[in-house]
Symmetry: C2
Subunit: 152 residues, 2 copies
């Protein structure tokens, strides 16, 4: 059994969840990917309590996932908005995976709200696993998790 043979304390799943696993964090990022940048817009579309939203945005900025950018709208004082960094953009696969599972299992009546398409050709996109030899894997059963450093 593999469950005793690796070090849970450095598990990347747990580590990532420690950063973005709190309530609202991933929903904030979903909106960020859709172009939302200002506090009031996050608050309005998410309906999250202001205190929580403040905390989540601060945490995401501290973690380098969002960055604060100053701006001024006409007739307003200078404020800052929140934009994804590269580190934040790299969380895109997490949101895509969550979205696809929800589309598959939770969207019985009616349809899912959003669809992802290739910007260049307009075709729907899917998330797949490929190996470095170029094979496309058919699912989780084609994957073998090995402790880092094991022999192939």
């Amino acid at each position: 059994m593999s469950e005793a043979l690796w070090d849970r304390s450095r598990c990347s799943v747990a580590g990532t969840l420690a950063v973005v696993g709190e309530k609202w964090s991933l929903l904030v990022l979903r909106e960020a990917f859709l172009g939302v940048r200002r506090f009031a817009d996050f608050q309005r579309v998410l309906g999250a309590p202001r205190a929580v939203l403040t905390d989540r945005l601060n945490t995401l900025v501290e973690q380098g996932i969002l960055r604060r950018v100053p701006y001024q709208a006409e007739g307003e004082r200078q404020r800052h908005e929140y934009r994804l960094t590269q580190k934040g953009v790299d969380l895109h696969p997490v949101l895509v995976a969550l979205m696809r599972w929800g589309d598959q299992y939770l969207a019985e009546d009616g349809e899912a709200a959003l669809e992802l398409r290739h910007r260049d050709c307009g075709e729907p996109v899917h998330q797949v696993l490929v190996c470095e030899a170029g094979h496309q894997l058919s699912g989780a059963r084609d994957v073998r998790p090995v402790p880092r450093g094991s022999r192939a």
Copy 2:
């Protein structure tokens, strides 16, 4: 701006998080993918409070992500273990995405604990986006989210 043009109430990201977004749920599934099946093993490797673990396992069973399978070890009474259903297996991409981000950004010192390899050829695997025309996308910026039903 796209942020006003779609229906958040049927967002699949939020829906999926409502099912598996509670504390410990995704870590339970991580262990399930690694072969853990019994309550005591989940409890031991995760260190989660028993009450929470009971609740999370029950929720995952109710949601059809795990199923209870009876078994008896020699010299013990009959118990049940928890196994992934297809619905549970389909959450694999979520865990892979979380793991890859953590590998990339949280594993500075030392190495990530686990690596994913193709069962057939032994090569490391990566998660990528492809479109139905066969193009491989290079990242989040190649994706255009469109409200379902929009023109291509």
